[in-house]
Amino acid sequence: MRHPENIPTSASFSRDHIQTVGNIFVKDARIECRSVDVFYGEKHAIQDVSLDVGRNEVIALIGPSGCGKSTFLRCLNRMNDTIPGCRVSGEIKLDGQDIYAEGLDVVPLRAQVGMVFQKPNPFPKSIFENVAYGPRIHGLASNKLELEEIVEKSLRRAGLWEEVKDYLRHPGTGLSGGQQQRLCIARTIAVNPEVILMDEPCSALDPIATAKIEQLMDDLREHYTIAIVTHSMQQAARVSQRTAYFHLGKLIEVGETAQIFTDPRHQLTEDYITGRFG
């Protein structure tokens, strides 16, 4: 039995095995996931997860370590393809297009769905080259001037421009941790994606840098859809509009952030939120 009987269900999802509490649907969704399962070899890492991600919203994925929230996030731009032995089934649609459809090229997908990682990972190149890398490989700028424009715009949006504008030729690895992470965000923005996935983007940063990134997410929401995995419930509460709670590879509960944190409906969610485990 995959769905414990004691779960009260209120979702109007027309499937037999509903396991998630709360409304997984949104109107005019950007990403629609239906019955997603992920296997690492024998391990069943994600079990039957269905979830929508809306436009211009920040959705936070929370849950204890190893619950599958990062794995789920990496499904959304097919980053799991790089992991040997990983198998994904179910349906994930971006703007109505199945991203796991046969013959679909991951390159444009990833240009549309950017990703920021847990540890800042600037390339061992200059700050300028880091940001310019995406536009360069995709041929987004027709000349040097345009490229410089894109780099400046991206760095501005990432809130880094004022700090680095005089050091564009310096190596990106020389920046502080928080700056590096904002550089990575700028690098992602430079490709002009529609969705940005963030995998615990602040876990390696100090509180001040974290505050800056959180502010940045709020600003970015205007233009992008953001899905963020976080360990910090305060962060989820601060930045997101909706929150999804994962437990042992299952999506337990999803809802408005305020509701999840003040009035969780599922026992597991409540236990987690109140700090009984996690």
Partner: protein
Amino acid sequence: MSNRTEENKSSNQGIRTHEIVKAGLHRRRAAEIRFKAYGFICIVAGLGFLMALFGNIIAHAWSAFEQTYVALDVTFDESVLDPEGKHDAANLASADYPALTKRSLAAMFPEVKDRLEKRSLNALLSSGAAYELRRVLAKDPALLGKTERIWLPVDDDVDMLVKGQIDRDIGEGDRRMKDYQIAWIDKLIASGRVEKRFNKQFFTSGDSREPEMAGIWGALMGSLFTLIVTGALSLPIGIASAIYLEEFAPRNRWTDIIEVNINNLAAVPSIVFGLLGLAVFINFFGLPRSSPLVGGLVLTLMTLPVIIIAARSALKSVPPSIREAALGIGASQMQTVFHHVLPLAMPGMLTGAIIGMARALGESAPLLMIGMVAFIVDVPGSLTDPSTVLPVQIYLWADSSERGFVERTSAAILVLLAFLITMNGLAVYLRKHYERRW
């Protein structure tokens, strides 16, 4: 208001971005496939070289394991072998055996009268044929005075002809065989007197100027003695050195220097070790030239860095918890290392040592420097006898002009490779079965 327009612009840009990315996709996928193909081609090229090398050597070596023999009816004539009728062994050993083969050849080809032709008729037989006759007679002295059909080795040129490695169709002047010689051989073949047999000589005798009499036994023994010296010295010294550096040495400038020094020595050209051996062991200490002793010493210095580096990494892979456990129950540091750490690191150390020894076995350049390149017929019997080693023997034969040495060189290479593959196989086995991962 301004926000709205920017948002529109941004979403327009999003669509534009998408289009641009899609437009470039075809080109980028093609580049991807090309790049991957280059990689694959390079691997195939590398493996192709390996195949070509092995194929080439095996193809050349194959025929060396057989030697052509010819059957002669030899009369052990007392008037030739023992004109004074003494019947003692020493006298028989130094008798004129070539005369016997000359006679039986003359009996078989009575039409050959000309002196020069007679000489080339006799040249069909190997000069080793006389030794063979002596051996036969020494084994069975009762043969004296009797006539017996005996299989004798032929000259290398004849051997090559029978094996089809001398082209009969090219002009007489361009090959080493005269037309009439070929005719004699054909006649012998037609009468069923020519046969190819397993080349025992190749595995049992020392070097020779005559390809059909040359063997690798001397070189093998030389290699064995050299490796014994190398192993007996480099193993204990290498392991001791690794133990000191890894377990006892304080981390300071001195040990840093030693470490850099060892890493550097591992990359010094082997010929430089040969120069060292020549200047120090031979000229300064006066050790005998060409001897396995000096060869072993030189190879010891050469393989030590390899063994030390391997032994250190084996020691490093033993987790500190083992040391702490032993020290915790009151063992001295020395006891900890010798009772607990060393046994666990041993498989890794031995693996490294075998690989180092395999390298030493295949090494030739430094041994040229210390005179192990001399032409040595005798099989060495001790560490100080002049000798050569297998790779140097290969070098010497490769330099010889006789056609017959080509196949023997290749065969010697096969033997050397067989030893190396066995040693490396042993190392892989050790690593697979005894090395523990923590």
